[in-house]
């Protein structure tokens, strides 16, 4: 639902962007159904964001015209405190992808459980930060925002933990129950506060204290924390010297209660046998009325026997149905097998279940896909489902489940998450690695997204380039370099522009820039950016024009160093090998003038002939094209050149003649 927009008053139209939806109000009449409603159903089975997104910015149009809303698909990406979650989990994600599956069986499982725990500890750390932020803020709006986040993170952790027990670790009968107990204890923390409260309360009335202690004992029993329960019971007993014996018996029962153990020291049958014995013993005491005189102890004994009504009586001490579920299993079926869980599900059918309930229920029913789907709908981020699904996929639990468009669910969710990261001005770097691990469409997504990164500094451009080069994304490399080269050119930084086009191996652009250099030279009579042109090295070969630029500059250097014959040879070669563009020949020939006028003869007869041919080729070509554009300066130049060439030829014939003669 888009706040501020009123679909009943005005039609809405929308356009999908890479990670955002543009929604605007239109004045078009209604035809058929409301287009915005219809969107969620057919196209995207798992499309939470569009409906929970926040309005990022609105622009007011004219009085009658409409406003534009930007609806972001992944709103949580923009929460500052969660950036820690994104960054830290990125590291864990990469670690998981790198961890090769060389480890077999148990050690692989242990590794995956560790990964799962790492993810959870990041969630918890974030929760802690968020909690601190909630406490320290004075702004009530912020406070409630943080508190909401804390409860969302806590729900995420609760779900993740359950998935870890049931799917990742896939705890077997016996240990399964212990894990579930841990899970309940971890997420129901009120009892410790209650203990603290009771122990610290000053001067409580005896009666009140008694009831409080009694209910704490119950809580401990319900959570299977026998030692703590017995400890408190002993205190209660000391206050009731008359029923010491009764306490002793109950204490003994609680002490003897067999628990599944984590090591493999006892078999399931052994455990079941012990359990049966103990159960019968409890039953005996209950039936012979040992506890009849003390209702509290009797109810505890009933709980120990797994009496559903007795447990249900303590409903308000458990607060959640899953606590009840685990407690009932503890006392009625401690060796429950994973697959039996669904049969033990207590469907309270009362009020309509909260999304969290639905998700946990689905987990207990081992409906993994249902869990992921429900989470996608309930949570306002892709982080959770993307990472959880990836982990489950690494546990090899999600194979053979392809979505209708060909890529699998893991990839679909990772792509959505990474696209969200890419829509963020700063987190985009994290997205790259996620795309890398999407074999089907990751590459295409990356190619599309990476070109949209704004490049405000060269350093950022280099970082983006590095990403592209590492992945052989030649097309993107070229386009980034081109953008940078264009920018440099616009800023009159020819040197930088040339560097960028050399890096992109963009011959056309290098030619363009070389022409700019040559034009500058013709206009000013000197080169700019000598430090660059003198340093072209092998990159000079990128484009003909660039080669010419480099060589021409080399000619000037040789000339400056008075290495005339080398300079002359190079100059001639530039024309005869057709390295120089025709438009530049006149300049080159003019450059030959001072060499022809040197005291010493530099051009050989053969070279002089070639120079003459160049000049004639040039003037012939010119005559054809521009007969009527007679240019005085030009003709004068040609005449001067012809004269100089003739004089040089005369001198060289004499010189070569005398040399041969001697």
């Amino acid at each position: 639902v888009v706040p501020g927009a009123d679909p009943s008053a005005r039609q809405l139209c929308f356009a999908w962007g890479p990670a955002e939806v543009l929604v605007c109000e239109t004045l078009f009449g209604r035809r058929g159904g409301c287009p915005f409603r219809g969107e969620a159903a057919p196209g995207r089975a798992l499309s939470p964001g569009a409906l929970t997104g926040r309005v990022a910015g609105t622009g007011e149009g004219g009085p009658s015209s409409s406003r534009v809303f930007v609806v972001r698909k992944d709103q949580d990406i923009y929460i500052q405190t969660l950036r820690k979650l994104f960054n830290e989990s990125h590291g864990i994600f990469i670690g998981l992808q790198r961890s090769e599956e060389e480890l077999a069986g148990k050690s692989r499982k242990a590794q995956l459980v560790q990964v799962s725990k790492n993810y959870r500890s990041v969630i918890r750390a974030c929760m802690e930060d968020m909690h601190q932020a909630a406490i320290s803020t004075r702004d009530p709006a912020l406070h409630s925002q943080y508190s909401t986040q804390v409860s969302i993170l806590s729900a995420m952790e609760l779900i993740w933990n359950l998935c870890e027990i049931l799917f990742v670790e896939a705890a077997a009968a016996g240990p399964l129950l212990l894990r579930l107990l841990d899970w309940v204890r971890l997420h129901v923390c009120d009892v410790d506060n209650m203990v603290r409260e009771v122990l610290s309360s000053e001067n409580p009335s005896k009666h009140e204290l008694f009831w409080k202690v009694a209910s704490i004992v119950d809580v401990f029993v319900l959570q299977g924390r026998m030692d703590e329960a017995r400890h408190l019971l002993a205190k209660e007993a000391s206050a009731n010297p008359t029923s010491v014996n009764m306490y002793k018996i109950l204490d003994d029962l609680m002490k003897k209660m067999p628990m599944p153990n984590l090591g493999n020291t006892q078999t399931l049958t052994e455990m079941e046998l012990k359990w049966q014995h103990w159960h019968e013993e409890c039953q005996r005491y209950l039936q012979d009325g040992t506890f009849a005189s003390n209702s509290h102890m009797e109810s505890i004994c009933k709980i120990l026997l797994g009496d559903e009504d007795a447990i249900l009586e303590k409903k308000e001490l458990m607060t959640t149905w899953y606590h009840f579920l685990v407690t009932r299993l503890l006392y009625s079926h401690p060796t429950v097998k994973p697959m039996e869980l669904r049969m033990d599900l207590f469907l309270g059918g009362e009020s309509s279940p909260e999304p969290l309930d639905t998700i946990l229920m689905a987990a207990f029913e081992f409906e993994m896909h249902q869990v992921i789907k429900e989470c996608s709908i309930a949570l306002s981020n892709w982080w959770f489902v993307a990472h959880l699904t990836d982990l489950l996929d690494h546990c090899k639990l999600l194979q053979s489940y392809n979505l209708y468009f060909g890529s699998n669910m893991r990839e679909f969710l990772l792509l959505e998450y990474a696209s969200g990261l890419f829509s963020h001005h700063s987190l985009w770097q994290l997205g790259v690695d996620y795309f890398d691990h999407c074999p089907e469409y990751g590459r295409v997504y990356l190619e599309l997204h990476i070109e949209r990164i704004p490049l405000n500094t060269e350093q950022k451009a280099l970082k983006v380039l590095r990403i592209c080069e590492q992945r052989q994304m030649h097309e993107q490399v070229r386009s980034i370099c081109k953008i940078m080269a264009m920018k440099a050119l616009r800023n009159n930084r020819l040197g930088s522009a040339l560097s960028w086009s050399i890096r992109a191996k963009d011959a056309a652009f290098a030619t363009l820039i070389s022409d700019r250099f040559l034009k500058d030279y013709c206009e000013r009579g000197c080169f700019s950016d000598l430090d660059l042109i003198d340093n072209l090295g092998p990159s000079m070969l990128l484009s003909d024009r660039l080669t010419f630029l480099g060589k021409y500059r080399e000619f000037h250097r040789l000339y400056g160093e008075k290495r005339f014959s080398e300079a002359a040879k190079l100059l001639l070669m530039l024309m005869t090998a057709h390295i120089a563009p025709c438009s530049f020949w006149m300049t080159l020939l003019t450059d030959a003038l001072p060499l022809l006028e040197q005291k010493e003869v530099i051009f050989s007869a053969e070279q002089t002939y070639e120079l003459m041919r160049c000049l004639e080729d040039l003037t012939a070509g010119k005559l054809d094209k521009q007969k009527f554009q007679d240019d005085d300066v030009e003709t004068m130049k040609v005449e001067m050149l012809r004269l100089a060439l003739a004089r040089n030829l005369a001198r060289v014939i004499v010189k070569e003649g005398t040399l041969e003669g001697s």
């Binding site: 500052q80 405190t81 950036r83 820690k84 960054n87 830290e88 990125h90 590291g91 990469i94 670690g95 001005h425 700063s426 770097q429 994290l430 690695d433 405000n456 500094t457 060269e458 350093q459 950022k460 280099l462 970082k463 590095r466 590492q470 616009r490 800023n491 009159n492 930084r493 020819l494 040197g495 930088s496 560097s499 050399i502 700019s528 950016d529 000598l530 430090d531 660059l532 340093n535 072209l536 090295g537 092998p538 990159s539």
Partner: protein, 375 residues
Amino acid sequence: AMEDVCAKFVSQKISKTRWRPLPAAALQPPDLFATGSWDNEDNRVSIWSVGDLGNVGLNGEYQGEPQLLCDIRHNGDVMDMQFLDQERIVVASSTGTVTVFRHHQNNQTLSANQRWEKAHYHVDQDTSCGGAPCTGVICNNPEIVTVGEDGRINLFRADQKDAVRTIDNADSSTLHAVTFLRTTEILTVNSIGQLKIWDLRQQRNEPSQIFSLTGDRVPLHCVDRHPNQQHVVATGGQDGMLSVWDIRQGTMPVSLLNAHEAEMWEVHFHPSNPDHLFTCSEDGSLWHWDTSTDIAEKPSFLHQGGRSTTYFSHNTINQSVVSAWLSNDPTKDRMEITNLIPNQTLSVNSLDILGPCLVYGTDAEAIYVNRQLFA
């Protein structure tokens, strides 16, 4: 050891980390550092105190993570940052502006003390004037030298409003970094693999010397000068290569050492223990180069756990005469190289070392402090 490193996620990509300099003759290790962020809608310059040593936990392992003392908004990416003195930090911005921030230690606040707007700028074809990123800054109180993508070199004085000296178009390519060679001479590196010396006393707008990598014109991104032997200069390039130059001779580097797999963003000699050198890179690694240890008896190649340590073969006889960094013969050279970050994925953009302490910042939005570097 890795256990001595404490990390803090700070919800912003860190482009620069710098220790606050210690007063002369201080004995205690540094306790304050500054960071700058980049690529955020809202970039910040922040001052941190390293965790209090008094907080060591019962098992002796815990060290408090860095605590934020104060921060201030910064317009544009923080491109470079240098402490001018104990209280003032000079910050280079991607907008071309250079700002001096003052850290008020009595009430833990930061304020802008002096600002040169668009110290670096482009004049585009329509002759409008836009800021160009200022890529490097170096201070020698009260002098401040900045370089930028505009190829310009500026010399400022902390107390003067206008630039003391500006060399327009000093370089036709982008200048990536600058450092002082002597009080009047600076070194710059650029995007076509050149190292240039500029003498600021001369009025000529040309470098007094140009050195360059041969052939490939690999861009150089960072430069540092040996603190005691001023002719020894280290640079890091786009290909991750570490080059060591002897600026008394030749125009090419004395040695080229294969290092990182991507851009080397910073190189620093240890200020008081210059046999040690530190480099960090886009590839997410941070290397410690050590030419000090006598390891004749150690095997020449050694791999330990997550770190890879490489020893070249060695000969120590001329150590005191020739700088260890200048012997380019691998058979005589001896060097121990340790990667201090195994399993890192995103770029380490900046590092700083002072005394036994190392601080570095990454694109993974975390800062790391190691206070027992040589333990």
